[in-house]
Subunit: 247 residues, 2 copies
């Protein structure tokens, strides 16, 4: 059995907050016993806020491209400018939608820049190095609770072909993002072929089920999942350009 628990009582996060300490305190206040191999899934937004990855739109000077796109698509030109600056490549820019490749290699709408759940006139950017953020929090949780845990940082991305957004992993520590079942036999004794499961994304999706986007529960603990515990990078889940048919 797998359990997914929301961590309650986490305060509103501000720049400079020691998120790991606040999280540890919230976990203790919830009466939650942290168990060996628990997976902490943390919404990107609280990581970004603690790390000061928030921009004041008033300080942004939009480029001509941002101004033109904003005018044609009824957007805030300063937001568009922030999205362009957070992109290393534009994958699609049409019908009011900007699909970007971020500095990390993620392909998502608006380069992950978000103006919801943040103060008026500000936008939240993705963390600069989400794996590093995850490693810091993981180390602090291990010190605090004395058990080995894993940390996944999640964000909600849209997908081609399907409506709705779903939670995926954008950073991690102490857990491999992919579970490789190749070489194992299926129930008919034949070798399984294409069976590399994106477990980090599935864990992120599972966590979202208790996060309730509007209700301020940005951390979930997943217990009972048997994962490969190792020093890993989220880059392992990003498909190389030469293997990708949709760039």
């Amino acid at each position: 059995m797998i359990e997914i628990l929301a961590v309650e009582n986490l305060p509103e996060i501000q720049e400079g907050d020691d998120l790991a300490s606040l999280l540890a305190r919230a976990v203790r206040a919830s009466g939650l016993e942290v168990a060996e191999r628990d997976v902490f899934v943390i919404a990107q937004k609280v990581i970004s806020k603690a790390e000061g990855r928030v921009v004041r739109l008033g300080s942004i000077e939009p480029s001509d491209l941002a101004l033109a796109w904003a005018r044609d698509n009824d957007k805030d030109a300063r937001m568009v400018e922030v999205v362009l600056r957070e992109s290393r490549r534009i994958v699609r820019m049409e019908r009011g939608v900007i699909i970007c490749e971020t500095r990390h290699g993620f392909i998502c709408a608006n380069a992950g820049v978000d103006a919801s759940n943040t103060a008026e006139g500000t936008a939240v950017l993705l963390p600069l190095d989400p794996d590093l953020s995850a490693r810091h929090i993981r180390a602090a949780l291990i010190r605090e609770f004395g058990v080995e845990v894993a940390v996944i940082i999640s964000d909600t991305f849209g997908r081609p072909w399907r409506e709705g957004i779903a939670n995926v992993a954008i950073g991690l520590a102490g857990i491999a993002p992919l579970a490789d079942y190749r070489g194992q036999n299926d129930s008919h004794g034949r070798e399984l072929r294409v069976t590399i499961i994106a477990v980090a994304d599935e864990l992120a999706s599972a966590a979202e089920l208790v996060m309730k986007k509007s209700a301020g529960l940005p951390v979930a603990v997943i217990r009972g999942f048997d994962y490969e515990a190792r020093d890993a990078r989220i880059g392992e889940i990003i498909r190389a350009a030469e293997r990708d048919l949709f760039r």
Copy 2:
């Protein structure tokens, strides 16, 4: 808290089997008490097998297109032929990969046709109408256990831009695939804008965490998730062509 439980003891499924009865028996044998609003997630393969959606490759006459593609890409031409027949449109056909649009509107590799976990020389096709399959099983489970439940039929799909496959919903009954948080306020009192969560896909992904692809656990029960219970269609989660940038 959300719990995800694997249903043990389900026998190998054959064409003509009454899957709902076998499932009910397995649930009782597991000592699992079915609770109001439990979500049953069932892997597509057992649905397809019970419904006889299995082809013998020996009976397939490959077309010239299938023969050429198979020769150039070291594939079984009969499998390629089955994939082409299960497609209503080819989205990409390059670098050894065929991305198809199925009769249902799903966009996925090989039109969902799969030769793993099935007898040698056969391939398993997607169910003709996965919503109908889900409705039949849901009705039988409600009769059997006397509580309202939801049913999701899942399959593992690859994704653009990210490695690994993840479980998504391909059919459902008694649950809305999307949770629409638009119009609700975020924690700063501003209206949330693009916050339609693909909960059916997130539930499918969560269920996969206990399914263990090679271990023959094709059914999971998810308990404690607060969903919109209604007569819904998986088609609601398929993006209309005119809104899609990656067709």
